[in-house]
């Protein structure tokens, strides 16, 4: 962080388009900026907005790589802008909004809406076994390793990078994406969820679900949380196919 190299001139090409505004058309706009030590795209974009263009739209919330707000196409690849250090990028940086999701404006997309729809469609919550909870009682036990395994899949921040990186999702609007599949894998693993594989088959046993995945694996390669998407989708495919052909 204390590298004393002379600062580069960075050149940003940012896709501008505001669907709310009449007459707005998609175009690439160029901004120049002097790089600073430890500069992230979060810092850079805010500087551009504050000093050069107050109309530029983008989303940051946590600016720490944990909330999933700031997914965007960085030189063609989806990634979290807040934790992308400019020093790891060439001096020409092209930024575009994540495709597939509804565009709010410029770099801002509505991943929230998409994820909520996904949650409703795949019923991504623990379907508890019947009976009222007695909160006064000691909780049910769970194997410590299993808890960790579940957490590993639970770490998804719904940033949408896996969806934006997926060629299948690009072609097929209704494909649930790696995020959807990994969520099902997560609940499948959870003994608190009463659903069986047959239930999961109803949710993802078709070409919009696990059988639609063409194993392009870009999801796995871009996931900022390094979720084991490759193994999880494969595992799910085996289990769900087994239900189907039985």
């Amino acid at each position: 962080m204390t590298d004393q190299t002379a600062h580069r001139k960075l050149s940003f090409r940012i896709l501008r388009y505001n669907p709310q505004e009449n007459g707005s058309t998609p175009r690439l706009q160029r901004y120049e900026l002097e790089e600073a030590d430890g500069m992230t795209l979060f810092i850079a974009l805010n500087e551009i907005r504050e000093q050069q263009d107050p109309s530029l739209q983008f989303d940051f919330v946590c600016r720490a790589g944990i909330c999933g707000s700031c997914g965007m196409m960085i030189n063609g690849r989806p990634g979290l802008a807040c934790r992308t250090l400019t020093r790891n990028l060439p001096p020409e940086i092209t930024l575009a909004p994540l495709p597939i999701f509804e565009l709010i404006g410029d770099l801002s997309v509505n991943t929230g809406r998409w994820m909520r729809d996904l949650g409703e469609r795949l019923e991504t919550w623990v379907h508890m076994k019947a009976g009222e909870l007695d909160l006064g009682h000691i909780e049910e036990t769970m194997d410590p390793d299993l808890a960790e395994q579940i957490y590993l899949l639970d770490r998804c921040i719904e940033c949408g990078c896996c969806v934006a990186a997926c060629g299948t999702a690009r072609m097929r609007e209704d494909f649930v994406g790696a995020v959807g599949l990994s969520k099902i894998a997560r609940f499948r693993l959870d003994p608190r969820d009463a659903r069986t594989d047959a239930d999961y088959y109803e949710l993802i046993g078709d070409d919009d679900g696990v059988f639609g995945c063409m194993s392009l694996l870009a999801c796995h390669d871009v996931c900022p949380k390094n979720l084991p998407l490759k193994t999880q989708i494969a595992f799910l495919r085996r289990k769900i196919a087994a239900v189907g052909i039985k």
Binding site: M1, Q20, P54, N110, L133, H137, I138, E139, M142
Partner: protein, 659 residues
Amino acid sequence: MRIIYTDVLVIGGGLAGLRMAIAARRRGHEAIILSLVPAKRSHSKAAQGGMQASLGNVIKGQGDSEDVHFEDTVRGGDWGADQEVVRMFVNTAPKAVRELAAWGVPWSRVRKGDREVIINGQKVTITERDAAHGLVAQRDFGGTKKWRTCYVADGTGHAMITAIADQAIAASIPVHEHNEALALIHDSGRCYGAVVRDLVSGELTAYVAKATALATGGAGRLYRVTTNAVICEGIGQAIALETGVATLGNMEAVQFHPTGIFPAGILVTEGCRGDGGLLRDADGHRFMPDYEPEKRELASRDVVSRRMEEHIARGKGAKSRFGDHLWLDITLLGEHHIRHNLREVYEICHYFLGVDPVKEWIPVRAAQHYTMGGVRTGPTGESPNLKGLFAAGEAACWDMHGFNRLGGNSVAETVVAGMIVGEFIGDFCDRPENDINIPTAVVHDYLEREQARLSALLTGRGTEDAVALRVAMQEIMTAKVGIFRRGKDLEQAVDELQQLLVRSRDIGVRYRAAGANPELVTAYRTQRMLKLALTVAYGALARSESRGAHYREDFPRRNDAEWLKRTLASWSNESDTLPTLTYEALDVRRMELPPGWRGYGARDHIHHPDTATREKEVEALKAKLASSDRFAVQQALMPYEQLLPPRLRGRNERIDDRS
């Protein structure tokens, strides 16, 4: 301009808001959640370390109970807390953890047998009991006598909000994302909802509701260096303040976290120190034992932050071109521990610093972290001044934290308050007299007022630059209303902030789109934030003592005789440039734990005249009930169960009760 009617309007989609909405929904009321961002992206997500609840599953938590949690919390808050509320809280926290466990939160679990931990820089082997195997585990956190903090690796808040937000989806609770409450609608002391701006289209809508619940989180962005997300701007508290009716409690109580990454301010969790991490200075010396021989790195946050600043002031900080900092050393925890239990910390160091915490030290310095103050509510979560307005979570001053909150008590508060206040909201909506009876004309007046304010910014001839004002405010707050406070600085701060506030009435924007317009948002938020900043600075100036996180160099002692009271700020008139401060005394005679020494930090507080009497009373009661169980003693000292909603009463089982 539209009007949407609902039973419960919840402003805020963080842990507190979601849990309140679920409670209300389960009681059969319709609820709508408003949020600036998708609910799961709320800042609750960022909580890493964990949630306190006295389950006592791990061996180091054996013997823990509501009583110990209660005392830790009251001490931590330097006796500023409402002790009845603390009691309500500690009794519900275990229930909250257990409910979340059933809802799918993958709490880290206890593994029976030996394991190695680091305590006070030493490797120690501890043996977990067979009976605890597979139960929710606890870790050590600052300011607690027992290991009490339940956690999910170091993504606790993330796992909690994922589970709760998914439950909200299951309950079909709509979340209106990208919507911002700009003003509360109220009439004759009764709150009826809010005027809301769609951040994408710019459209204004009035949400009219029987009950309005604020859960808008903290206000860290009043400061330049903060661990808080960029949306933690305190707008919820500000709009409550702007009603002129509701009050804000203890806004001067602002917590600084010892370990913000330097210079970005991104937090590395207290769990680092809880698990055995050490603080070192420029010479690599571990300095905390020199100042705090008993709790060392794990004294409460206000103490550690102050000691760090003190040490830097002595010239012991490591130098860098951004200023001085200290080091957090977790290398001694080992690669496995760091990569499994401190995964987020590892990632943050890796991505933002290019540092490998397994081998290298992490540059840290204290950063603004938590807003103890907020919308003042009673134990039911309702504002005492504005009927129908509820608040919970960081935005509220329910007042279980007093002047300093303990690590892990905040996410616990959000869920617990969500459960409790949600029930009271249910009760409120059940009562027929609380039906909505506001004339639409009043609603339209509010809509028009807000529209006019926006238009003034968009089409007016204002010349002030919102970003510049905001930066100036943040500098003032960080430099003069920070960890160490002095009367002279505070006076200056109040003066300068007032000037900024006046100037902010003349803000103009360059980009004049009525729809999505980040500059406009900055403009109207800055105007509100300045008012909030003034309540902090003015409250701090007035409070001539040191208590918890509020530290006055010119008044270093805690002064119970004069200041055992809660600051209440209100903004009576739109043209004012200062809040109106009033005070609410805390009643020592009813305290279960009369004011005393916290167990760390200074011992030289000035006593309240009633303390001695109450101490004797407490002693006498305890002696009299020596043969009774702890519940009977507690009941005699300060009955509180009647304050809880019926379904949340009752004791909490622990494994020690079983054997």
